[in-house]
């Protein structure tokens, strides 16, 4: 079962459903994410590559790992488009994660501008993965705009607060045909597991790993959590025994014909 269970994004197949975010970047983190969390896709802030020191940052990315450049720093669709094009010129491939924020305090994404940027970039052949605030209407607009996935936030970025938007993410999972990748706010493996159990196609995390006491061990914990959640989802939800259990005598037992 597992071998056939691929994450497909823009025609590309991935075995891993853990994606490393870009917030707090370090080589140690990249190594741990690939080696212990099994990440096959790593986000890269294009603005962080704009450094002489890191001219060879692309060389740090292990072979076989797909780069997901993001547009962080963009305040509107036009800026995001410019950054995405620059990423392509830099040789980062066709994937792009759209991040548009016009709020420096909470760094919440601007859904409207995100839809606009998605439309432009999808037409230019990018595989567009937009980061968004979980809103069903926006998600539908993103589908129509040509997105390859939809990436709702779980809670404010860097907050490690987990699935604060759980109910709304569930709506996206239920209603949207594209892979739903839960991004931002996942602070613990248990939260990643829960998102996967709900039917998320993948989770993205960075701070949770970057700020862990032992990064490799935490990376491994995330891999196991994501796999466990995925397996639980694929196994099909069992009867959830809530308080009082379920009645053994059927309520409809009186119906005779």
């Amino acid at each position: 079962m597992e071998n056939n269970d691929k994450l497909i994004l823009g025609g590309h197949e991935f075995n891993s459903r853990f994606i490393l975010g870009s917030g707090k970047y370090s080589l140690k983190l990249i190594e741990a994410a690939v080696k212990y969390a099994g990440a096959e896709m790593i986000t890269l802030a294009v603005r962080r590559t704009n450094s002489k020191e890191n001219e060879n940052i692309l060389d740090y990315i292990p072979k076989g790992v797909t780069l997901l450049p993001n547009t962080s720093g963009a305040r509107n669709a036009d800026e995001a488009v410019r950054i995405a094009r620059l990423a392509r010129e830099l040789g980062c491939g066709d994937f792009v994660k759209i991040e548009i924020m016009r709020d420096s305090k909470y760094l919440l994404p601007d859904n409207q501008e995100t839809v606009r940027a998605t439309e432009i970039l999808a037409k230019e052949g990018f595989i567009v993965m937009p980061y968004m605030y979980p809103d069903l209407n926006t998600a539908r607009d993103l589908v129509n705009a040509g997105a390859a996935s939809v990436m709702p936030l779980a809670s404010p970025i860097g907050s490690n607060k987990g699935l604060a938007t759980k109910d709304f993410i569930q709506i996206l999972i239920d209603e949207i045909e594209l892979p739903i990748i839960v991004d931002a706010g996942i602070g613990r493996p248990s939260q990643a597991c829960e998102a996967m159990e709900m039917g998320a196609a993948a989770v993205m995390s960075n701070t949770a790993l970057a700020t862990a006491g032992d990064i490799p061990v935490m990376a491994e914990a995330f891999r196991q959590a994501v796999e466990a959640g995925r397996k639980a989802y694929l196994a099909g939800p069992g009867r959830v025994i809530s308080r009082g259990a379920s009645a053994s005598d059927p309520l409809t037992g009186f119906l005779h014909d």
Binding site: Y25, R47, N50, G73, G158, T207, T211
Partner: protein, 417 residues
């Protein structure tokens, strides 16, 4: 207790000396510091009025340990919590504040620390600010670099590895015109990935021009938010106009800048009130312009040429640390810069608590980077420093020291779009 700021140079003419003494001793001979001068743009004063009235109303002696504890237990720091954290009652809580601040810094910035350097391209000044080494009555070597000299400086700095530059001038429009600064900024774009300015405040359209020259960050220090004290320290020149300076960051944002930096110069006045006003200034401006990237600095007074006695009075390292922790908890997303005015040991410690950016390879003189970096004697003239720095570490040394502290030095995380 106050610093003795008044120093007479024997090179001043009799008339200049007379004027200087008049300004110092006769308040009625000074212009109204609340009146805009000709050509100074006026904008909505709402934020200024709010900040100043809240600062004036604040009585720090009313806050108790209970308020500080409550502030430390809140997830989000309110304006009232910020006041409690700045109050004398918070002093015994410094370690607790530092621990909480450290967690907030890590949450928002991870373990990164940004490195940059300032470059002074001219030190001519038309103002008489009594604490500043560049003040027009101070006898120092003045200089304005030519474009060739600027390019040489930038090359030397860029070769050292620096990628973010802050361009500074003394405040003289006559000697350092906006076009001169704009050209220098365009030149900087060739050598650096990120360009900021710390120059005299200008109008919105002038900030827009600088933005087009490649600048995205503007730093303006208000020095003190106590306008009466401000009047006593800034005796002459356009800098004397308190409201125009206060509104500089807002004009910069209106002109298209991405980020603005704020600061009081600690030691000039009641430091708690100045820190409160600095935080509120940034807070209200970010609320009005949510996309604005804000950052805070925290300079303390330093000795200057011809007045080695100037010191930051009651703002010791513990007080400075308290202020920085309060800034971090009140504005967890804001950048905090700690300059080379502070010692090596202070900077090594504070980057693990609240600071996100430190300068390295610093000179506050003009045209002297090559001689300072390589020890090679400069064949050309050099301009004197604005103040004495305290931490003279080179970029390489700073990079290594920050890494040794377990931090990740970052030279650039920015793209001009």
């Amino acid at each position: 207790m106050d610093n003795n700021y008044f120093v007479d140079s024997d090179k001043l003419s009799e008339a200049a000396l007379k004027r200087k003494h008049e300004l110092e001793n006769c308040p009625e001979k000074r212009t109204d510091h609340m009146e805009y001068m000709e050509g100074m743009e006026r904008i909505n004063p709402e934020i200024r009025e709010k900040v100043i009235s809240q600062m004036n109303e604040c009585d720090f002696s009313l806050y108790t340990a209970r308020d500080v504890n409550a502030a430390l237990n809140h997830d989000n720091c309110t304006v009232d919590d910020f006041k409690a954290l700045l109050s004398p009652a918070a002093a015994p809580f410094l370690e607790k504040m530092a621990r909480k601040a450290s967690r907030e810094t890590e949450k928002h910035f991870g373990n990164t620390v940004y490195l940059f350097t300032p470059v002074y391209i001219a030190n001519y000044c038309e103002n008489y600010c009594v604490y500043c080494g560049f003040n027009c009555y101070n006898d120092i070597r003045r200089m304005r670099l030519s474009m060739e000299q600027i390019e040489h400086e930038m090359k030397v700095i860029s070769d050292s590895g620096i990628e973010e530059i802050l361009i500074l001038t003394g405040e003289s429009r006559a000697k350092s015109s906006l076009e001169y600064i704009g050209e220098a900024c365009r030149l900087a774009g060739k050598y650096f990935r990120m360009v900021g300015v710390e120059i005299y405040p200008v109008n919105t359209d002038e900030y827009r021009y600088l933005h087009e020259c490649g600048v995205d960050y503007v730093t303006v220090f208000q020095e003190t938010y106590d306008s009466d004290r401000y009047e006593q320290l800034h005796l002459m020149g356009h800098k004397r106009v308190f409201p125009y300076r206060f509104e500089a960051q807002e004009r910069a944002l209106m002109g298209g800048m991405r980020g603005v930096a704020f600061s009081a110069l600690l030691g000039l006045s009641d430091f708690r009130k100045d820190a409160l006003a600095t935080g509120l200034h940034a807070y209200y401006l970010q609320r009005k312009y949510p996309h604005a990237e804000i950052s805070l600095s925290c300079p303390r007074l330093r000795p200057i040429i011809n007045n080695g006695e100037i010191d930051p009075l009651d703002v010791h390292e513990k007080q400075l640390c308290q202020i920085l922790c309060a800034y971090r908890l009140f504005l967890p997303f804001a950048g905090i810069t700690v300059s080379s005015r502070e010692s090596e040991s202070f900077r090594n410690g504070i980057v693990k608590i609240a600071a996100t950016k430190v300068s390295a390879g610093v000179s506050t003189g003009v045209g002297d980077h090559e001689s300072k970096y390589s020890g090679k004697k400069n064949s050309e003239a050099e301009g004197d420093e604005q103040f004495e720095i305290n931490d003279g570490r080179s970029l390489d040394k700073m990079y290594k020291d920050m890494s040794d502290e377990g931090l990740q030095p970052v030279l650039n995380d920015y793209l001009y779009v």
